[in-house]
Symmetry: C2
Subunit: 254 residues, 2 copies
């Protein structure tokens, strides 16, 4: 069997990782006729809209940790994600054994527990033994109001790539929230326009904004940003294609 295509769902809390994991998986099964394996790495989730084939809650859950150690939700989330990471090799081995060519990996609700602690780098490294991981970096458009916010999103994508060593495709989830406002999508994809608006703004950081943008351009973040609508499923094909492109251009070589 060819190297498994592993898509890791990342994004700040509340961006809709888990919902998109389910809808992307369903779409791939139905439209691409490819069987999808689901992996849940979030020990804090209670209900999932998909049936995970590999589930880190087999080893640890936030609720158990809260009860056993008398911790509040903050502390218990940190501890349970750290504890989950200790089972990275069993998780990766189970993923490897799944008879599915396409794997969708759902990650902890609070991204920073994954990204800025040990768990993310550890899980990704282990998963490389089971296939080729690529990340979808999911973003909620309600956090994108000013031009500076878009620089923040791009910096997060870059940080993700740096910390985890995987390519990340930024995704705008809940695109229905964008409504008629076409400004944000334009700024996301048109770095010239973004540059103009940043320089026009009165922000303290306008002067360095241009240099940062130059690096972001250089860094070749995805220039297209799929917009997902849960209402009609639009954007899923574009997301699938972009992830698949990365897999094809790099995955076969490793």
């Amino acid at each position: 069997m060819a190297l498994k295509e592993i898509v890791v769902m990342l994004g700040p809390a509340g961006s809709g990782k888990t919902t998109l994991a389910a809808s992307l998986g369903k779409w791939i099964e139905r439209k691409q006729m490819i069987r999808v394996g689901y992996v849940n790495l979030d020990p804090g989730v209670r209900k999932l809209p998909y049936k995970p084939h590999v589930d880190v809650r087999k080893y640890v859950t936030v609720d158990e940790v809260m009860d056993r150690y008398g911790l509040g939700p903050n502390g218990a989330l940190i501890m349970s994600v750290d504890m989950a990471a200790q089972h990275k090799d069993e998780v990766a081995e189970a993923v490897k054994r799944l008879p599915y060519p396409y794997i969708i990996v759902d990650t902890p609700g609070q991204m920073e527990l994954f990204l800025f602690r040990e768990a993310g780098p550890a899980f990704i490294e282990a998963l490389r033994g089971a296939g080729f991981p690529v990340a979808a970096l999911i973003y909620d458009p309600s956090s994108l109001v000013k031009p500076e916010d878009i620089v923040g999103l791009k910096l997060l994508a870059m940080t993700t790539q740096f910390r985890l060593g995987v390519d990340a495709v930024p995704v705008l989830n809940k695109a229905d929230l964008l409504g008629e406002d076409g400004r944000i999508p334009v700024l996301l994809e048109d770095s010239e326009q973004l540059r103009r608006e940043l320089l026009r703004s009165e922000g303290v950081y306008a002067e360095v904004a241009e240099k940062i943008l130059a690096v972001l351009d250089e860094y070749k973040l995805a220039t297209r940003i799929p917009r997902i609508s849960a209402l009609n499923g639009s954007g899923l094909e574009e997301l699938y294609d972009m992830l698949h492109e990365i897999y094809c251009s790099c995955g076969d070589l490793t």
Copy 2:
């Protein structure tokens, strides 16, 4: 009274924001003879090592939200931080009325709820009506292993500055964990050495690393990075001085 000096404690979950809020505050009261007001913006914290003068738990707590809405810890954390932000003006007003010149603001355990959603920008904006906010970006050195991790930290500092519009001083907490390993502190402060190690590493991103570093240099992130030891309180003076320097160079002008 002069413009209040407001220090906002930021950092990924588990980096030690709350503990450092308490120890920095105590140090300032004892060594600088300045009275400190404490503000807690974390609706999820159960016990605090300081007595908050303004506390967002007056309006909302994670435990209440879990009970009332039947949410798990993840969902309840997101919702409660969003709900807390609706009280930003009352919080800022209460801070303004505090008879203390120095204010330490503790933020939600999960930084992304503050940084990547509405709460952070909203609270910071409101607090500008009460004083001059500067951020301490607290980092746990156990997340710093590879040269790429340090770029991740610097990108996070830049992202923080962009999202919140405040200057951020990176702080290495739990410096005792560094032990005898002098490599990480050197790489943090010596961008030439960091550049050399990045280029030597086999990572996919070595080629763009240099350009990113050039921007980070340009961006004039703090070149000194205070290292805090909880054991003997070292680093607190350096941190205080650096925050105060920013306040003095910008605070008086606004």
